[in-house]
């Protein structure tokens, strides 16, 4: 077995060399993440990231909307209203994903005291609320011609409405408390409590008899949607997700700047 010379000139077991290389890579990755915890480094990194995200998001929406309106056929039952699904489903996915992200950020605030965790949580709430509203509105626009009603108090619709109201509560909580660190801890607790609603939303169509149809994309037996409609739907999901990341990173940058303004104003008041 060949041995790699060490700095001292002695040969070394290749497994040790490989192990050290892997360990070094893991450490570098971890240090990269830890480095981003520094707000100034995050601002510099996110500035470069946004220069890529914005054009990629626009391209994804252009492709998604083209497929949705010029390639996807009418559904044999829903007709042209199936096109509402291309915004309703991604918005529903993002409303839930955003709350899941806020729950992870809440753990970051309460357990690890990560400097950017409550920044991420606060920045995400209005965006999640907006996507949940789009989900509810688009769903209601689809429901009227297909179900004969804009709204029904079934388990899926009601649990999503509760999530929307909890988003509004979270935003109100941030506005009600002046001190960002106190507001962050209270919001983190509310975010974790609200996370209980996520499995209820997901499985409501299985646990109760609902007018809303059961899962048709993410399910054990695979999607039940024809590929001609599934492809535009997935492209729109990617486009909406990229939009969410772009908006969230931008809102996080704004929140960091807002806290700097607050610090400077406090310094100014102390100096006066």
């Amino acid at each position: 077995m060949s041995r790699e010379p060490t700095a001292l000139g002695a040969s070394e077991d290749p497994r040790s060399v490989a192990l050290r290389a892997v360990s070094s890579t893991v450490k570098t990755g971890a240090m990269g993440l830890i480095g981003l915890a520094n707000p100034s480094r995050f601002l510099a990194f996110s500035h470069r990231l946004l220069q890529v995200l914005v054009p990629v998001t626009l391209a994804a929406f252009a492709a998604g909307l083209y497929l949705a309106f010029f390639v996807a056929p009418d559904d044999y039952q829903q007709g042209a209203t199936v096109r509402i699904m291309f915004i309703h489903v991604p918005a529903a996915w993002l409303g839930m994903m955003c709350w899941a992200l806020m729950s992870i950020a809440a753990l970051g605030t309460l357990v690890w005291r990560h400097p950017l965790a409550d920044v991420a949580l606060k920045a995400a709430a209005p965006i999640g609320a907006a996507f949940t509203f789009i989900c509810l509105f688009a769903g209601s626009m689809w429901g009227r011609p297909m179900w004969g009603t804009y709204w029904v108090w079934d388990a899926r619709l009601t649990s999503v409405l509760i999530m929307f109201l909890m988003y509004l509560g979270l935003i109100a909580l941030w506005r009600a408390v002046d001190d960002p660190s106190r507001a962050g801890r209270a919001a983190a607790i509310l975010a974790l409590v609200g996370a209980v609603n996520l499995p209820i939303i997901k499985f409501s169509v299985d646990w109760w008899n609902t007018l809303h149809q059961p899962a048709s994309v993410i399910r054990l037996g695979g999607p039940t949607i024809h590929p001609a409609i599934l492809l535009p739907l997935l492209v729109m999901v990617v486009a909406f997700t990229l939009l969410f990341i772009t908006l969230h990173v931008s809102a996080m940058r704004n929140e960091i700047l807002r806290r700097r303004v607050r610090t400077l104003r406090l310094m100014q008041a102390e100096a006066a």
Binding site: H47, A80, I127, A130, M141, W142, P145, N254, L257, Q268
Partner: protein, 59 residues
């Protein structure tokens, strides 16, 4: 492109969704400009942070 008998519902869904997304984009851009402007005004008035470089990175 024929949206059929339910075109009004499809157009309404896309129009409101576009308006909401546009509102988010305008909010993010306007908020960024407001924070950068306020930071610049505070620093011009003599209040300084420890790191000037981070302000440049934000712009």
């Amino acid at each position: 492109m024929d949206l059929g008998a339910h075109a009004v519902f499809i157009v309404a869904a896309y129009a409101i969704s576009t308006a909401v997304v546009a509102g988010l984009v305008v909010w993010v851009i306007a908020d960024h400009r407001a924070q950068v402007r306020t930071l610049a005004e505070l620093e011009a008035s003599g209040v300084r942070r420890r790191s000037e470089a981070s302000r440049r990175a934000a712009q």
